[in-house]
Structure formats: structure tokens, C-alpha cells
Amino acid sequence: MIVQIRVDDRLIHGQVALLWGKELNTKGIIVANDHAAYDATQSATLKMACPQGVKLLIRTVEEAIKVSSDPRGKDMRIFMLTQSVEDAYKVVAGLNGVVQSVNIANVGRFDRSDDATKTLLATGVNLNPTDLEAARKLCEFDIPVIHQVGTTDPKTKVSDLLSKLK
């Protein structure tokens, strides 16, 4: 089962590697990212950032959906990382009931789209129009969709953040 999909535009980095795996008690990380799956340097950085003893798969979004429906993953606690809300939406929509929660943590800093078109949902969550739409659609699923950067930060419901927008 995928305990949490974290939308983090840095994918695996110090904070995630050190704190979140421990907090969520997950044994494996799946990075669902089309670029990382093909880019040797980026996948090397992710492997380097992955803590020892934690299994790591780096796959395209489509392949990540396939892998996650593998029956062998049913009882394994998996932490998934995506770089955009849209990718997280694709995974949730593509996997019926496998994903237990989505955390939109950091997104929008590195997506190379025009900052003027973005909507600031929370500190560190600056959504381009595609991701904003994906966030709305994610909230229609019957799973918690939250914003929580660090393990000690409060959880905020994304639907509450969306309803505060004009």
C-alpha cells in the first residue's frame, strides 16, 4: 500500500530521507517522475539521498502505477514521491484504493512555468494552472489530501486552502 504520496519538487532530499520515512514507517520509496526515470544524473542524486536499508524504485509515472498495483506490494508500506500535483493525481486516479493519503508539501519553485500564472496556496506551494486543477480533482477522492511540510508541522486540509482562494 502507498501510505503517502508526497508532492515535493525536490523529490528525495535531506528532510524527506531523514524524517519522513521514519515518521511514516515506510520500507520502500517509489519516485514517480518521468524525467528522473530517464536521467542518469538525477537518478544518481536520488539514490545518494536514499537512506541505507530503504528500498528505492525510480520509475515513470505510468510505470510507477503499474508497479504499485503489484500484489507483492499489498502489505508493504510504501512512500511515493512525485514532483507535481498532476503526477500525484494520475497515480491516485490510476490506482483504485491503493493510495492512503496525499501530502502536497513543496511545489512550484522549480517547475519552470511562469510565476505570474501561479496561485499561492500555502508557503512553498505555488501552483501552476495544471496543478491547481489537479489539486481540486484530488480533493474529490475519499482520502486525506493535506499540506504538511515537516513532520512536526500541523496538517492543513488542502480543500480548506482551496476554499479560501477567491
Binding site: 528532510q15 531523514l18 524524517l19 520502500g28 542518469a40 544518481a44 524504485l57 508497479v67 503489484d70 506490494g73
Partner: protein, 143 residues
């Protein structure tokens, strides 16, 4: 309580504290003393920290350079009499290791954290094969 003091030549100490805040969201257990940034004597700030440590605290003083004047000053203040450990040659990963350690901070556990932290000071091997970073198969993942 776990308590740390970082003392450095210049702003390294407050810089490390700022990095800790970004990475862990909480730097409240870390006190930073930037030395020699003005004419004042930094000794009382370090002494205050030593005096404030309680017997059941796990406390460490980190200094920047072995044999440097900040390290030497801390040694003369004898933090060990209050059960405070002193680690020099500070780096970020070592402090994070101490902040986040599951086990109690003892000379043995801190030695291991320092060893792990030192092993992460390295030249990055640009060739992925030589870096030994192999692709994982889904069979390995679910094994």
C-alpha cells in the same frame, strides 16, 4: 533534554543553526555563538550554556576547528565536569545526526555519529558505475 551549543570563528555557528531550522523545522535546542565578529569576549556565552546544563540533559558543544582558539577555549572551561561532550570539526550532518539520534547520546553513540558524518565528506564520483549506484528491479524492491 537534548541541548547543543555551536561555537565558531565568525558566522558558521549561526549559519549552521539556520540550516538546522530549514531542515528540521526546529532549532530551539541549538544555541549558536559566533566568535570574533566584534571586540567582545565570547567566553561568558559559552560559560552560560555550560552552567545551564542540568544533570539529566544530553548536551554537546560543537566547535569548528581542532586546535583553534574556540576549541581551546571550550576545553579550558571543562564542560566534561557537567557531563557535556565536546565535538570539534563540526559539520551539518553530524549535528543533525545528534539532534535526530534514536539512542541516548553517550560518548560511544556520539563517536559513531561522528564517524558516519565524516564518511559523508567526500568527492562526488561523477561516473555512476564507479559510484556503485545500481538500478533496482521491482523484484528487489518487493523482496
Amino acid at each position: 533534554m537534548r541541548r547543543f551549543l555551536i561555537a565558531s570563528h565568525g558566522h558558521l555557528a549561526s549559519g549552521l543553526k539556520s540550516s538546522i531550522k530549514i531542515l528540521t523545522r526546529d532549532d530551539s535546542m541549538v544555541k549558536a555563538v559566533d566568535c570574533y565578529i566584534d571586540e567582545s569576549d565570547f567566553t561568558p556565552k559559552i560559560q552560560d550554556f555550560i552552567d545551564s546544563v542540568q544533570p539529566d540533559d544530553e548536551a554537546i558543544i560543537f566547535t569548528d576547528l581542532m586546535g583553534g582558539s574556540v576549541c581551546n577555549k571550550v576545553m579550558t572551561l571543562k564542560p566534561e565536569l557537567k557531563g557535556i561532550m565536546h565535538v570539534t570539526g563540526v559539520n551539518l550532518i553530524t549535528i543533525l545526526g545528534c539532534i535526530l539520534a534514536d539512542e541516548k547520546l553517550t560518548p560511544d553513540s556520539v563517536d559513531q555519529i561522528v564517524l558516519d558524518g565524516s564518511s559523508m565528506i567526500k568527492r562526488i564520483e561523477p561516473s555512476l558505475d564507479e559510484a556503485g549506484l545500481e538500478e533496482t528491479s521491482s523484484d528487489d524492491f518487493f523482496a
